[in-house]
Symmetry: C2
Subunit: 219 residues, 2 copies
């Protein structure tokens, strides 16, 4: 019985990794599409999102089944409950990649971001991809040092996000209202992606330390 | 043993109602502050948010304890797992009220929204307050008809949100970039509030019907 249960916990972890890999593909494709105004790549991201949603629902079902059949206690119970939380965050990360792709599609054949902000969005894209890579490793290894890194990496995205707002609010900003709206939303999507990863990292820390933390406080 | 457990489930429900009432107060105060540029009321909302966060964490701890001690099955298990999800959504709704209050504080003594959009934001405020009231009743009564209403109410906010974007993107829009950014974010916060309520309503439907649903797909 115990062996079956350990196998099921391993299955939960494998599925989290599987979803995190799809999220990594999506954020890589979505930010590349965004930065190069590549509508075909944007469409690929939009088409891939329902798969992430389905896998997250299936993982929830599995977690609930495990709670039902195995009555896990202590750390095992925490792993299963945390999986429910993590799957929700991964699903939202996939949604954010889709939102970035949808902005790209809406503005095509133009770029969403003006020339003056391309560098900033390229840096944010690199940070988000790096965050998704770290998250994938974290879910594979449960290495608490990676969790710390992820929470710090999130600060870098926050700073870039603030930089976009500074640019939009400076007297030099030339954008029309439409571009101001799109850039504001895009920057928020890039930034929220990091928040969700940090939220998952905190859950992994919790599993290691026992300190339960609230969901991240930004939106 | 069974009686103790039923008492604990009732305690979970009571705590969800307690948090939903604080969220109702916060969205009422935040939207009133927003629409009347009332910085004192905005500060009250900002100061109240940590209490909502703490109550959500405490409810999570209680839910995990119940899973640990009682090994609930079937519908009881679903109630406890759903409570974990609902507390996260309620906490985010509190965060959104705080974000609306923070925008109000940042722009004070000016209004965030220009004259031309006051009516729209007043309608969105009324919708969000109505949503929070329905949600409070839903959590008290578990009435599936209220859940249906909540999911429909969310559509009304979505339409108003789209209207704000139409206004900002019209040739008549006179706002500076700063105002365009603030109005874009504000409208998103008002709209997301409804999404989280709809997400909770879907969980209640799930408890009634057994159909598990993914978290809402917007951000």
């Amino acid at each position: 019985m115990r062996a079956v249960f350990q196998q099921e916990l391993a299955e939960v972890q494998d599925r989290l990794v599987e979803i995190s890999e799809l999220v990594l593909d999506s954020i890589r494709d979505a930010t590349t599409a965004f930065n190069s105004a590549d509508v075909a790549l944007a469409d690929k991201v939009i088409a891939a999102d329902p798969t992430i949603d389905e896998l997250a629902v299936e993982l929830d079902e599995l977690s609930i089944e495990i709670l039902y059949r195995q009555n896990p206690v202590a750390r095992d119970l925490r792993i299963v409950v945390s999986a429910l939380r993590m799957s929700a965050s991964l699903e939202r990360m996939g949604d954010l990649a889709r939102h970035i792709a949808q902005l790209t599609r809406r503005r095509y054949p133009d770029h969403v971001a003006p020339e003056s902000l391309r560098d900033t969005f390229t840096q944010m894209a690199a940070e988000d991809i790096h965050i998704a890579e770290l998250l994938d490793q974290l879910l594979r290894t449960q290495d608490v040092e990676l969790a710390d890194k992820l929470i710090q990496g999130d600060d870098a995205v926050d700073a870039l996000h603030a930089g976009v707002f500074d640019a939009v609010l400076s007297p030099d900003w030339q954008g029309e209202a439409e571009q101001t709206v799109d850039v504001t939303l895009a920057s928020r999507f890039f930034e929220r992606f990091g928040d969700h990863a940090a939220s998952i990292a905190k859950k992994v820390q919790y599993l290691a330390t026992g300190d339960w933390v609230p969901d991240d406080s930004s939106v």
